[in-house]
Amino acid sequence: MIRVLGAVVLALTAAVSTAAAQKFQPAVIFDMGGKFDKSFNEAAYNGAERFKKETGIDYLEFEVTQEAQREQAMQRMARRGADIIVVLGFQNGTPLQKVAAEYPNSKFTIIDAVVDLPNVQSVIFKEHEGSFLVGMAAALVSKTGKVGFVGGMDIPLIRNFAFGYEQGIKYVNPKAELFVNMTGTTPAAWNDPAKGAELAISQFDRGADVVYAAAGGTGIGVLQAAKDKGKFSIGVDSNQNYLHPGSVLTSMLKRVDVAVYNAFKDARAGTWKPGRLDLGLAEDGVGYALDEHNRSVLTPDIVAKLEAARADIIAGRLVVKDYYSTQK
C-alpha cells in the first residue's frame, strides 16, 4: 500500500515537474525609448516576438519609463519566477548587479553592459566595427566631404559608435570632416526627436550631407530632418531603411533581436551559459542593412567596397579600434 502510494506521489511529482518545465517563462525588460523606438528596443521586441511565434510561448515584458523602475521591474520578474530575464541597455547594469545577487537562482542576460556574476550573461556588441562600415558608406556618398553624427546620451557606448564611424570615414577620405553632437547627458536624450532634428539641421547648415543617428527614439527626428532637407541619414540598431526610402542611406544593424532570441532559446534548451559574449562582424552581431528601400542609393560599387572591408576586418587585416581602449 505504502509502495503504491509512493509510486503515485512519485508519478504526481513527475507530472508536476514536467508541467513546470513546459511552463517555460521568459521575460524581457525594455529600456527607456520604449519598445517601438524603431531602433534598439524594437530590435529586442522583434527577437522576443520571433521566439513567441516559433514556440508559442508568451513572454513577460516591462518598459522602463523612470529610473526608479529599473530595480523594481527586475525584482518583480525574478519573483514571478521567470526562467530567463533579458535586460536591455547599459543603464540597467548597476541595478542588475544588485538584483542578480539578490536572486542567485534567476538567470539574467544583459545587453550592452557587463555584469560579472555567476547567473548573468553579458552581451556586448562591437558597435565600432559596424559603425566603421557605415562610416565608409557615408564618406563614399558625401559630396561635400563633411558628415555628421548625432548621438543620444553622452556615454562611452555612444562614443564608441562615433569612434568607429570616424575611422570608417577617414579610411575612405582622410580629409573628410566630421561633426559630432550629443543630444544630452540624461536618459531623456533617447527620446527627444525635436532636439535630434535641430542637431541634424545644425550639421547640415555647416555643410554635412550625411548624418548618422545613434540615439534611440531621438534618431526618428534626425532621419525626419534629413528627409525634409533632402540629405542622407544612417539609421541604427534596427533596420530603419523603410522609414524614408531613398533618404536613409543604410542602417547600422545591431542584432539585438538575435541576442534576445538566442537567450530565450538557449535558456529553454538548457544550454544558456553565464559569462561575456562579444558579437562583432565575424559573429554577424553587427552589420549594415541592404534592402529594396536603399538599393538605389547604396550602389553595388559601394557595397563591393564595404564587403571587401568587412572581409578584411574579419580576417584581422584591418583593425578597428574601440573607444574604450583609448580611454585607459
Binding site: E63, F179, T185, D205
Partner: protein, 324 residues
C-alpha cells in the same frame, strides 16, 4: 565675412524654430495670469494639444483637422482648470499640477490603446504636417547682399504656425493694452472687487482668459507634434511649458519682455546645439555637459542680476469670493 553672416543667420533661424512653442505658451500664461489665474498647467495643456493634434492628423491625414483637435482639446482642459479654480475656487497651482500629471499619463495610454505603438503616434504622410512655406522671392533673394540671405534663411521657409506665433505677439499685446476686454482682464487680475463693483462678471472674464490661453497652448502643442516634428511621443514637451512660465515671470508679466525672454532661452538652446564639439578659441573643445548647462546658467545669471523685482498681478492665485 559672408560665412560668418550666414552662420549667424542660421543660428537666428534655429532660434525662431525653438522659440515658437515658448512664445505661444508665454502668451497663454500672460493672458491667464494677468486675469489672476496661475497657469502652471501650460505644460499639460500643450502636451494635450500635441497629443490631440497627432492623433487627429494620423487618423484623418489632415494637418488642419489636427490643429483644430489640438485647440479643442487644450480648451477643454482649460475649461476643466477653470471649473476647478473659478467655479469651485480650488487651489490654482494644485489643480494645474493635476492637469499636467493627468495629461502626461493619459496621452501615452490612449495612444497605446488606439495606435498600439507603445504611447507613440507616428504620422502617416506629409499631408498630415504643416510644411515649410517659401515666401515669394526667397529663391532669388540670396543674390542680394546682406539682406537677401536674411530674407531667405530667417524670414522665409518656416511653417504656418511659426508665422502665426509672430502674428500672435502684437495681437495679444494690442488686446491687453488697447481693448476694453484687455482692460477688464487686467483689472480682474489686480482688483476683482473693483470689476465686480462695476457690474462686470469676474467669473466670465476669467473663463474667457483661460479659454484664450487654452487656444494658444493648443497651437503650441500642434506645432510640436505636426509641424516641427512628425508625431507624438511621451513627454515630448520636455519642460517647455515651465520654461515659458519662467520667461513670463522674467518678462514681469508684460508681453514684449516675455517674448524677448522666450527668444533668449531659444537662442541659448540654439547656440548650445552649435557650440557642442566646436573648438573655441583659447579654450579648446568644451565638454558636452558644460555646453548643455549654458542655457540654465544664463537664465540663473540674468534672473539673479538683471531682472530686479518682478511684481505679479495683485490678485494672482486668489480665487474671487464675492461676499468676503
Amino acid at each position: 565675412m559672408d560665412a560668418i553672416w550666414l552662420q549667424t543667420l542660421l543660428l537666428a533661424d534655429s532660434t525662431v524654430r525653438l522659440a515658437t512653442p515658448l512664445v505661444f505658451c508665454a502668451l497663454a500664461g500672460l493672458l491667464s495670469e494677468r486675469a489672476g489665474v496661475v497657469n502652471i498647467a501650460l505644460e499639460g495643456k500643450m502636451l494635450g494639444g500635441a497629443f490631440a493634434a497627432a492623433a487627429a492628423a494620423a487618423v484623418t491625414g489632415s494637418a488642419w483637422i489636427g490643429l483644430l483637435a489640438a485647440c479643442t482639446f487644450a480648451c477643454a482642459l482649460a475649461l476643466l482648470h477653470g471649473f476647478a479654480t473659478i467655479t469651485h475656487r480650488g487651489e490654482q497651482v494644485v489643480s494645474g499640477v493635476a492637469i499636467n500629471i493627468v495629461v502626461a499619463g493619459l496621452g501615452p495610454t490612449l495612444a497605446d490603446a488606439w495606435f498600439g505603438q507603445a504611447g507613440r503616434i507616428p504620422l502617416p504622410g506629409s499631408d498630415a504636417r504643416f510644411a515649410p512655406i517659401e515666401l515669394p522671392g526667397a529663391g532669388g533673394a540670396p543674390a542680394i547682399p546682406v539682406l537677401g540671405p536674411l530674407y531667405a534663411e530667417v524670414v522665409s521657409g518656416h511653417n504656418l504656425l511659426v508665422y502665426l506665433a509672430v502674428a500672435a505677439v502684437p495681437t495679444v499685446a494690442w488686446i491687453l493694452a488697447k481693448t476694453r476686454f484687455g482692460l477688464r482682464l487686467r483689472a480682474v487680475g489686480e482688483s476683482p472687487e473693483a470689476v465686480d463693483t462695476a457690474g462686470i462678471g469676474v467669473e466670465a472674464l476669467r473663463y474667457a482668459a483661460l479659454l484664450s490661453a487654452g487656444l494658444l497652448c493648443g497651437l503650441a502643442g500642434a506645432y510640436l507634434s505636426i509641424a516641427q516634428n512628425a508625431g507624438f511621443i511621451r513627454d515630448m514637451t520636455a519642460g517647455k511649458g515651465f520654461l515659458a512660465l519662467a520667461a513670463l515671470i522674467f518678462g514681469k508679466w508684460r508681453p514684449v519682455p516675455a517674448v524677448l525672454a522666450c527668444l533668449l532661452f531659444a537662442f541659448a538652446d540654439a547656440a548650445q546645439v552649435r557650440l557642442q564639439g566646436t573648438p573655441l578659441p583659447f579654450v579648446g573643445t568644451v565638454p558636452t555637459q558644460a555646453i548643455q548647462a549654458l542655457p540654465y546658467l544664463l537664465t540663473l545669471l540674468l534672473l539673479a542680476g538683471f531682472v530686479g523685482r518682478a511684481v505679479a498681478p495683485r490678485a494672482l492665485g486668489r480665487p474671487y469670493v464675492k461676499d468676503r
